[in-house]
Amino acid sequence: MTVLLIALGAAVGAPLRYLTDRAVQSRHHSAFPWGTLLVNVSGSLLLGALAGWPIGPAVSALLSTGFCGALTTYSTFSYETLRLTRGGHRLLALANVLGSVAAGLAAATVGYALARALTG
C-alpha cells in the first residue's frame, strides 16, 4: 500500500514539476532557472507544513515522500548551476545556489511554523 501511495504521489509530482517549469519559462525569459526554484521552494513549504502537521503514514507516503519528493529536485538544480557556470554566468550560478538553499530553508521553516500554529 505504501509503495502504491508513494508511486501515485510521485506520478503527479514529477509531471507537475515539468509543467510548472514550462509555464514559468514561457512567461519569463531569463537565464536564471526560476521554474526549478519555484517548484523547489513551494515543495519545501508544503513538506515543512506536513512535517508540522499530525499526519498518518499513508498521507506521509502520498504527499511527503511521493508528491513533494518528486515535485522537487536536486539533480536539476545542480545541473543548472553547472551549466550557468560553464556558460560564463558565474554570478547567476552562485545566486542560484545561495538563493535556492536560503529560500528552500526559509520556506520549510515557514511551512512548519504555520502548521504548528494552526494545529496548536
Binding site: V3, A10, G35, S44, T81, A108
Partner: protein, 157 residues
C-alpha cells in the same frame, strides 16, 4: 563540436531547445505519462534507501545525502550522453532525467531535514548536512559530466 544541447541550462525542460518546445504539443499524454512513470520509479528507489538507512532528527541524513549526490552524478552522465547523441531517443530525457532522476533526488527533504535538525537542537549537524550536500552535489554533477564527455571524446577518436 556541434552540440544541439548548447543553449540548455535546464535538464527538465528548456524552451530555448527547439525539441523541448515541441515535445509537449506533439504528444502530451505520452510525455506526461513517461515522466510520471519515471518519477514513480525514482521516488520508490529513494524511499527504499531512506527506509534502509533511517536517521534521527538530530542525525545526519545519510540516505538522502547519498540519493542527492548520486542523482547529481547521474544527471551529469545522462546529459553528457544525450548531448553526444544529439538528444538521443525523444523519451530518454523525459523518462530518465525529468522522471527517474528528478523523482529520485529531492530538494524538499533536504530543506526540511536541515530545518528539523535545527528544531531538534542540532545546528552543527544541520550546517554540516547543508554544506556537504550542496558541495557534494556540485562536485558530483561536474564530475559526471566531465568524465562522461571525456570518455565519449576518447571513444570517438
Amino acid at each position: 563540436m556541434p552540440e544541439p544541447f548548447e543553449p540548455r541550462t535546464d535538464p527538465d525542460v528548456d524552451l530555448r531547445v527547439p525539441a523541448d518546445r515541441r515535445e509537449l504539443t506533439a504528444r502530451p499524454a505520452t510525455i506526461l505519462a513517461t515522466i510520471a512513470a519515471g518519477g514513480a520509479l525514482g521516488a520508490l528507489a529513494r524511499a527504499g534507501l531512506q527506509h534502509a538507512v533511517p536517521h534521527a532528527p538530530t542525525g545526519f541524513g545519510w540516505a538522502t545525502f547519498i540519493v542527492n549526490t548520486s542523482g547529481c552524478l547521474l544527471i551529469g552522465v545522462l546529459m553528457a550522453v544525450l548531448g553526444h547523441l544529439d538528444g538521443g531517443h525523444p523519451l530518454a530525457r523525459p523518462f530518465l532525467g525529468v522522471g527517474v532522476l528528478g523523482g529520485f533526488t529531492t530538494f524538499s527533504t533536504y530543506a526540511v531535514d536541515i530545518q528539523q535538525a535545527i528544531v531538534a537542537g542540532a545546528p552543527g549537524t544541520a550546517l554540516a548536512y547543508l554544506a556537504a550536500t550542496v558541495l557534494g552535489a556540485l562536485v558530483a554533477v561536474g564530475l559526471g559530466d566531465a568524465a562522461t564527455a571525456g570518455l565519449l571524446r576518447r571513444a570517438a577518436r
